[in-house]
Subunit: 248 residues, 2 copies
DNA sequence: CGTAATTGTAAAAATATTGTCAAATGGGAG
DNA sequence: CTCCCATTTGACAATATTTTTACAATTACG
């Protein structure tokens, strides 16, 4: 099986339906007043309550005063660098998601982000929607922690998402990267009808947006690999005119 | 990959079922006639109703005349720059999503998009599919109707709109896509008399506008599937000369 | 009552969606 | 550069749904 490190992170960009969290407090750390103002507006119109800070030291203090649900953090900050803010906060509260804003040069390597403890990042000319999506994804991730259990079993299938391994009757089934991502998305959204469109958006992403027939083909593969009788699927059900639905 | 001119035809073949909102009007602001024409075709073949404008001033006026569901906006415009169009519109109607078309140089700075208040952006040259995907994503986000409770029960019927599942006496009843949509509309508008025309407008959409008899047939199906005694309906009532009325 | 308009109903006809496979594409490893 | 394999596309068949159509039943109303 291919290396899934990169593709998986893409799947995190989910904008999830009907999941807007009111009452969520966001701490925005950004020194450019224009950007700060714009960010505040962005999140406030989405129903978040916003706290802003302009430098690193104040950010940490503000965080300690009242723990926000998530943090949007510019890396280039006066007084205390974004890196250090990240580290300090993660040391105290490792579960609060931090989304880093950065120029491409700031994070040439993902290793850096891991070291920092950041949960996600958005690079330079970013779309507001994308930032929102990532914050939401991060929030969702923490708010329902046991969302994706590491191991899921149903029928003759057992999947270990941590190991990225799927077994059928105890024998390893090899899924390709895309198949695995699709599978995981279905498991995370069990019992819900998912349109091809949503799949393309959430699993494939924007940059490569294939035709809807591609989705069907991947469903076909998943059925062939995971269903007892692929021609009359039990788990990967089709909902005519709507999309697909996964049931355990 | 996609340079706008040719690949449009490719995206045309993309069948796009159920998901697309009927009656969605898109305002396209683009001064290059060739691109404008291509964009119009792109969105029209996907079932959107399209309004086009070639300069900034007209765009704002057109917007005020009739508010579209979303706006696709080129940044480089005569008469009034895309930036200003964006600002003006966002000042009046912050919820209408704006997707910006831009050369990479236009958005080299992350400040820009945020200040503008744009929701998303696509850089030229862009793939038609990507643009479509982003517009759809934006629409999906705003047009979310939180008014439908996820689960509704009445008589022997229980409906889970999230799972798109309807049960009668605990047994799953299979509704087709159109039946389900019709059913949902009735539930959302319980106790109110609904004319066939309204149903055709709201549930079917103007792009495929069948005869009013089609409505009757769907009511028939709903009664057969959901009523205890379909020939003397309790929930899906006929209001002679007017239309139908759903009561729980 | 009687008639015209409206609605109920079921089957046929027309469309639309999905399943499936083979071939084309494209990216990465060697 | 070439080969390999995942991915995507495109075609076509197989299904499923939507719409039309025709006619019977019902209702409104003089």
């Amino acid at each position: 099986m291919g290396n899934l490190a990169t593709p998986l992170s893409a799947a995190r960009t989910m904008t999830h339906p009907a999941e807007s969290k009111p009452n969520s407090r966001i701490l925005i750390v950004e020194d450019d007043p224009a950007v700060q103002k714009a960010l505040r507006r962005l999140f406030e119109t989405e129903g978040y309550s916003v706290e802003t800070q302009s430098d690193g030291r104040s950010a940490v203090e503000s965080f300690q005063a009242a723990t926000p649900a998530a943090i949007v953090l510019d890396l280039r900050l006066p007084r205390l660098s974004g890196r250090d803010v990240c580290k300090e906060i993660k040391a105290v509260a490792p579960t609060v998601p931090i989304i880093v804003l950065s120029a491409t040069t700031d994070v040439s390597d993902k290793v850096l982000l891991l070291e920092l403890g950041a949960d996600d990042y958005v690079t330079k000319p970013f779309s507001p929607r994308e930032l929102l999506a990532r914050v939401r994804a991060a929030l969702r991730h923490t708010s329902r922690t046991p969302e994706t259990p590491s191991v899921v079993t149903f029928g003759a299938i057992s999947a270990d998402f941590k190991k990225m391994e799927v077994k059928r009757d105890g024998k390893v089934v090899i899924l390709t990267a895309q198949e695995f991502k699709t599978f995981q998305f279905f498991v995370q959204n069990a019992d819900r009808v998912i349109s091809r469109d949503e799949l393309l958006n959430e699993v494939w992403g924007y940059q490569n947006y294939p035709s809807t027939r591609t989705v069907d083909n991947h469903i076909l593969k998943l059925r062939q690999k995971l269903e007892n009788d692929p021609s009359s699927p039990v788990h990967f059900r089709t909902v005519h005119g709507m999309g697909y639905k996964f049931v355990r």
